[in-house]
Symmetry: C2
Subunit: 297 residues, 2 copies
Amino acid sequence: MFHGLSAFPLTPTTEQRIDTAAYTALVTRLAATGVDSIGALGSTGSYAYLTREQRAHAAQIAVEAAGGVPVIVGIGALRTSHVLQLAEDAQKAGASALLLAPMTYQPLTEDEVFGLYEDVTRELSVPLCVYDNPATTHVHFTDELHGRIAQLPNVASIKIPSVPDDPSASELRVDALRALIPDTVTIGISGDWMAARGLTAGCDVWYSVIGGTFPQTALALTRAAQAGHALKATELSEGLEPLWALFRQHGSLRVMSAAASHLGLTEATNLPRPLRALDETARRRVAAALDALQLTF
Amino acid sequence: MFHGLSAFPLTPTTEQRIDTAAYTALVTRLAATGVDSIGALGSTGSYAYLTREQRAHAAQIAVEAAGGVPVIVGIGALRTSHVLQLAEDAQKAGASALLLAPMTYQPLTEDEVFGLYEDVTRELSVPLCVYDNPATTHVHFTDELHGRIAQLPNVASIKIPSVPDDPSASELRVDALRALIPDTVTIGISGDWMAARGLTAGCDVWYSVIGGTFPQTALALTRAAQAGHALKATELSEGLEPLWALFRQHGSLRVMSAAASHLGLTEATNLPRPLRALDETARRRVAAALDALQLTF
């Protein structure tokens, strides 16, 4: 489950409710395409904007639609007691694993971040992936902190946000982290445009945004890297550069939102406000990139 | 209401519930001391960690305990539709005004931040204070963005996080912002250790953390500045430097939490996890600073 391709779908939503039909179709298709796991309610799945009830419902839908493919459910919240409720809900819904980012409002000390994982991991009955995403949480994990947290019960993977530009530096970075964590804990890369480099440098899994909407594209890259074909994986990634450039400019969530609506998978408005759909110009650029790359669902 | 001293009390909480007795006592005392307004459910009031139901209840308690002193209620949330619900709840509870920070998970574009205020202000029946707090929201307001938002209906004040170290630079900064906003919109300073400088530089109001627990101390400084006694206000602030140093080291919330428990106003644990009470050493330093300054509630 914490190897290969973990695909993170959108949770299409109106201001009033989750678009359950669109969500079911997205997850069903991911499972049919052969991804190794599905990451429901990740950042791409807008977990932070949904109520407890909506998240429980989305977790149920995802597990059912996944038809046996393991589902990893995001349980992040600002307050520890709410994280524990979300963990319980996700486990009841049949989640195979959980994903936890240390969301912040007040900046947290390192001991408070560790304390969050300590409080949560002791209550779990399924494995947990530690979600390191400074762009959204503003928590900057040191490798030492990762090492401390990875010793806690039920920790099974770490989702890191990036690897260095240079391939050798990437290998050193992954090796340095691996030296501090138990053998049972895998390392996953999540910045999509760094996925080929991360997998080639020794990451076990790609926690993938693009994989949530274009699983075949992400699978081709992942399987190439897993088979040791670093050059092919790199070429596949470089071929997607028009999309990565849009990710860097607008954020991957807004680009996938536009892509899903362009392909008719969701309504044009599928993000929770205050997030907004891209403007017409940017939407046309996304559509042109998808068409040029012949990316279809 | 958007002038003078606005005092922001803690919302003491256990992991299960708000300590309503302690909260009522804190607010009652603020009102009796003569503060100009009470900022319920600000960052110091841990609004971001409470449920909708808890926030509605806290707003009711605050309005009742304030006995006619205007209460400004924080309505920030990650999602616009939730902000609108909180605004409705706060208005029903009798809030005289609302306070809105653009909380973020996904980083917001400037147009998304403006859109949030546009969506919310058009629904209000009481005035709103725009809460600019990059340390918690990671939104960096430009003066131009403040200017755009300040034109929206119901906007009555802007709470800025800081002014420059130099008094002349502070005046220029306040003047520059004031030139971009309507005459009806006041400017408030919120970094406590910059309050004397901010008020002296022309800010209309001090949105005060220390004022939520030590209203007399904050009132003395505010009234000196309002009377044009800049030197006295500065001296009063400099006298509190041991406390400001602790604020800068640990965050003002953790220090006020320790202070309130030291004085017996709350239980020792009054913050929502993952936030933790200061450790024994730091708590002793807070207690020593309070004792040396003869700060009592």
